[in-house]
Amino acid sequence: MLDVLLTNLLSPIVLAFVLGIVAQLIRSDLSFPEPLYQALSIYLLLAIGLKGGAELSHTPWSAVVGPALVTLLLGVVTPITSYVVLRKLGRMDRVNAAAIAAHYGSVSAVTFIAAQAFGQVQGHSIEGFMPALVAMLEVPAIVVALMIAFMRSNHHGSWREGLHEVLAGRSIVLLVGGLIIGYLSGMEGLQQVAPFFVSGFKGALTLFLLEMGLVAARRLRDLKKAGAFLVGFGIVMPLLHGSLAVVLGSWAGLSVGGRAVLGAMVASASYIAAPAAVRISLPEANPSYYLTASLGITFPFNLTLGIPLYFALAQWIEG
């Protein structure tokens, strides 16, 4: 267990994240130009789509149906549990509770990628269709959370624009587009572009996490504004959601690696798709709350401690 934790903490990917945090704390002038950040995002999302699609192309549908249904279920349930906890225990107003729920129901693609990389280093073989599940998990939670908000309060934002923002948003287009391309062109097609999209992947991810560390550290200033409850929420909620997902995943027939990665996905909070949709649809929600919780607390927690825990749990269930 401690071994596993150490492997994770000492991988270049996680260390790059830590370097980003440190660089920001010592007020280094290191910063990524915005186009580099965007280029890395485009590359990473397309790459996981391509790989997942190519894998899907030789996977029997019967193997996918169970995990897919479980994923959709979790996409509907987790925003509701988040909302209820925030309202009842956190005494948060409706709009902010719904906004945060949208983030915790949806998924962080980077956490997913890191979990997968971690599993590979640990020697797990992970189902190839996991990226398809990411795409499935991203959207429903945002829809559910916005529905809650719109049912219960007067609002200023636009429901339809928010939905379009998610569905036609960059991350979905790249992920789903990549999946389809990978599926249609198959393993042979993937082979053509593998040196770029497969071999280079973990290195590009390292660079990306360096930038994520810089970004997350900038958020740390806002922790005080977020308050103690939100800090606890940002650690406990992932553990609950993640455990639930590991259990359901194993029940749906996923391998040890697969269910652990599903756990990390469900435990993660979105900070790309959800913020954009929420900002459009629920402008009166305070970004300090949802961005700080998802990017400043839950993301680093999952990256360093959460992922090894979900793997340990997945292994333990296997018996």
């Binding site: 915005e34 950040y37 960059r170 913020p275 929420v278 009166e284 970004p287 300090s288 961005l291 990017l295």
Partner: protein, 100 residues
């Protein structure tokens, strides 16, 4: 060369508003705009999304009436919940009919 005095209206807003603002400008009578990627700080520290990038600056040259309408619209619809500022200046242009 005969010059006319029109209004240069500048809006600085978080990126998430870009599309909506440009659509609105057109509806309110602006005939063109110039867009710059900027960053900045103001009363609201936080911007919506890191992936979205920072702010945009939208500049449009319009008649004084259209300028008034734009400022009013932005103030009414965006000031409360979004990070946005708007200001106006007189500018001298040639080919004044191009902008109105």
């Amino acid at each position: 060369m005969p010059t006319v005095t029109l209004k240069l209206v500048t809006i600085v807003a978080e990126r998430v508003l870009q599309e909506r603002l440009l659509r609105t400008l057109k509806e309110l009578g602006a005939r063109g705009y110039t867009l710059t990627d900027v960053s900045g700080e103001g009363s609201r520290g936080v911007r919506a999304s890191e992936w979205e990038g920072h702010n945009v600056k939208i500049e449009t040259i319009v008649s004084p009436e259209v300028a008034e309408r734009i400022i009013e619209h932005v103030a009414e619809h965006y000031f409360q919940h979004y990070a946005v500022i708007v200001y106006a200046q007189p500018v001298e242009v040639v080919r004044g009919d191009k902008y109105v």
